[in-house]
């Protein structure tokens, strides 16, 4: 084969390759155009479960979605656009993000949610929306304009499971309160710290020194303070019977007033209204460390026989209990403050941990209301243990139904 023939064949091959490559490019370009398919299902609606400060936009996931392709949402106050007919473009949305399935609080847990895009826009009045898709070169718009008006919702459907739990647990507790009214001798296990309370009152009486009772730093809306007041009532009753003395320095003025009432009633019930001194229940300050400093000073000067810390505490817990331990007082603490429990455990003679604080008031009073509540909570705990066990087994085998029931948003 001559060299000219070789060159000719080479050129022909080159031409064929070039032609094919051009053809391929055209095909590729045509594919790029054809991949920006028309948008489907673009709808606007009031976002559910909100206060009326946003609307939601949904549209179908399409084959257009890939890296480099963005959706563009434009807004305007009227169908014709803004005052100058212009539409405001929002930030581009990457086509591989923002799915309905990312917002289970609005749409629940459903596999079909993965087939829809969702975008939330903060607006307070009726707003019109346009949707377009672009790959940087081509733009395809949704043919029509949609609109929505935001409205506040009275009912948050994402919190239905909380409502069901409240009704169920409340029902359980009410059932057991009824049961406790019929049988007030329902069993409650022994709580060691509580026996020590009587011991502390006896000790204080023998030493002729007061008992210092602290309610913690929370107000009357806190469960731990309510439990603390309930225990205070029983302690005050015993103090009145033993003719001892109780001092209650308060952090909150409302708690102080409640304490005064409770202790007064306890003294009256014990037949010792004359022994009640309202001055012994006093407000110090509602500054955390100033309160701690004042109580520490009292501990050092009065040297109380016993210190009882019931309620919710913060960083002052160790300051108080360490000073109390240094004075040689017998100390009993009860708190549901998880971060402060270690300090009470190390510095106090007895510590009521978490729910033991609530159980203590029922244990001491034997009132059907409190006994029933405690029993109801016990049954609730048993059910939770069962749910945890069954749920874990089911989840291990890929059944997520139970997990989804307890999902919160």
């Amino acid at each position: 084969m001559s060299s000219s023939r070789c060159i000719f064949i080479f050129l022909v091959i080159l031409l064929i390759v070039f032609g094919l490559s051009r053809l391929g490019g055209t095909i590729s370009f045509a594919q790029s155009n054809s991949q920006l398919l028309p948008l489907q299902g673009f709808t606007a609606f009031d976002t559910p479960n909100d206060v009326g400060d946003s609307v939601g936009l949904i549209w179908k996931v399409s084959e257009n979605d890939r890296e480099g392709v963005h959706y563009i949402v434009s807004t305007a106050p009227s169908q014709e656009g803004g005052g100058d007919g212009q539409w405001t473009k929002l930030d581009p949305i990457l086509s591989t993000t923002c799915y309905k399935s990312d917002f289970p609080q609005y749409f629940g847990i459903d596999e079909s949610n993965k087939l829809w895009h969702f975008y939330e826009v903060s607006v307070t009045t009726t707003t019109y929306f346009k949707l377009a898709i672009t790959d940087g070169v081509n733009i395809v718009e949704f043919p029509s304009v949609v609109s929505a008006t935001p409205k506040g919702n009275w009912f948050d459907t994402s919190k239905v499971n909380i409502l069901v739990c409240v009704i169920f647990f409340s029902g359980l507790i009410m059932f057991f309160i009824r049961a406790a009214r019929h049988n007030p001798n329902l069993f409650i296990r022994h709580i060691p710290g509580l026996d020590a309370i009587e011991e502390t009152i006896g000790r204080a009486t023998e030493m002729g020194k007061p008992i210092l009772y602290l309610n913690g730093l929370h107000g009357m809306d806190s469960l731990s303070t309510i439990a603390s007041i309930s225990i205070l009532s029983k302690v005050a009753s015993k103090v009145a019977n033993y003719d001892s003395q109780i001092k209650v320095p308060c952090y909150d003025p409302i708690v102080m007033s409640v304490c005064q009432e409770v202790i007064k009633e306890a003294y009256i019930a014990a037949g010792r209204p004359d022994a009640f001194k309202s001055d012994n229940i006093f407000f110090i300050t509602n500054d955390q460390f100033a309160y701690a400093a004042a109580v520490e000073g009292m501990m050092m000067r009065d040297k109380p026989a016993a210190n009882l810390y019931m309620g919710y505490y913060y960083a002052e817990a160790l300051l108080l209990s360490e000073t109390g331990a240094a004075t040689g007082a017998m100390q009993i603490a009860g708190t549901d403050s998880i971060t402060q429990l270690p300090f009470f455990i190390t510095t106090c003679d007895y510590t009521l941990m978490g729910e033991e604080l609530y159980a203590s008031s029922a244990y001491l009073s034997r009132e059907p209301l409190q006994l029933g509540s405690l029993k109801g909570q016990d049954v609730s705990k048993a059910l939770i243990i069962l749910i945890l066990f069954i749920g874990s087994v089911l989840t291990t085998f890929g059944v997520t139904f139970l997990t989804n029931l307890f999902r919160t948003f």
């Binding site: 919190k159 909380i162 409502l163 739990c165 409240v166 647990f169 069993f187 409650i188 296990r189 709580i191 107000g219 009357m220 809306d221 806190s222 469960l223 309510i226 409302i254 007033s257 409640v258 110090i284 300050t285 509602n286 500054d287 460390f289 100033a290 309160y291 400093a293 004042a294 520490e296 000073g297 050092m300 000067r301 160790l318 998880i338 971060t339 429990l341 270690p342 300090f343 190390t346 941990m353 729910e355 033991e356 159980a359 405690l374 016990d378 705990k381 048993a382 939770i384 243990i385 945890l388 066990f389 749920g391 874990s392 989840t395 291990t396 139970l402 997990t403 307890f406 999902r407 919160t408």
Partner: protein, 253 residues
């Protein structure tokens, strides 16, 4: 013996006072600290810090002064905060202002009369005849508080805890280190829940499981203790840094 201790205390007190005076005079005279509000503020802060730390020795007049100052200042600040953060924006501006001043734009919010009355009822406690009115306020506070906190407790302490506990033990079909983690989490949660079960005596199998629960609790408390102590140490370091660098101007770098 007690008399001797008292004498020692008085001597220590005098030495402490003399030292404080001497050091501060030296700092001002030597122009190490400026004789202005900043300098005087630093000195007061340092004296109060040392006075409060003097409690580590025993109760003393310095501590008492600092304590009373602290309580008084704390109370004063909280009164100011209550006025500017609560009463003024929530009650005075939207309601009372319209009654005491003329030509105020807008309309008063008469709904605020209800919480205002509930607040005033608290003062009814000062008179025996009207004392019962304060119970309305208490009933509102306690009832409202319980109503708000119950759903929050169920959300945060029950549902939010159950959801992450329900994890598959086998990760991608195999038993891994994460599986051990999940088993530990589950057994810890269940055993601690059983410890806080009050309806059955803690004997036999329930007793054993609750003992395991106590172990889990103590491990958690130990970790929390260590973490908080480290936090307190950093507070102490911060205070010492203030005394050395801001007050005494000693370069500790």
């Amino acid at each position: 013996m007690e008399e001797k201790n008292n004498k020692i205390d008085i001597i220590l007190l005098l030495v402490f006072t003399a030292l404080l005076l001497g050091v501060n005079i030296y700092l001002f005279a030597g122009k190490i600290l400026p004789v202005n509000a900043i300098g005087i503020g630093i000195v007061i802060a340092a004296i109060l810090t040392l006075s409060l730390y003097s409690f580590l020795y025993k109760d003393n007049p310095f501590f008492k002064i600092a304590e009373n100052l602290f309580v008084g200042a704390g109370m004063g600040i909280s009164v100011v905060i209550i006025w500017f953060n609560y009463l003024k924006p929530e009650l005075y501006k939207p309601l009372i202002r319209y009654a005491v001043r003329d030509n105020i734009p807008g309309e008063p919010n008469f709904w605020l009369i209800i919480p205002m009355l509930l607040g005033l009822f608290m003062f009814a406690r000062f008179l025996k005849k009207t004392m019962w009115l304060s119970r309305w306020s208490f009933a509102f506070i306690i009832g409202g508080g319980a109503g708000i906190s119950i759903p929050v407790v169920i959300h945060s302490f029950i549902l939010k805890q159950i959801e992450p506990s329900l994890q598959p033990v086998f990760v991608d079909g195999s038993f891994t280190l994460q599986s051990i983690n999940i088993i530990l989490l589950l057994s810890g949660t269940i055993s601690v829940l059983i410890y806080f079960f009050f309806s059955t005596p803690h004997t036999g199998i329930v007793g054993n499981i609750s003992r395991l629960g106590i172990w889990f609790l103590m491990v958690a408390f130990g970790a929390s203790f260590g973490y908080t102590v480290m936090g307190r140490m950093s507070l102490l370091i911060q205070r010492i840094q203030f005394l050395l660098t801001d007050w005494l101007k000693i370069n500790i770098q």
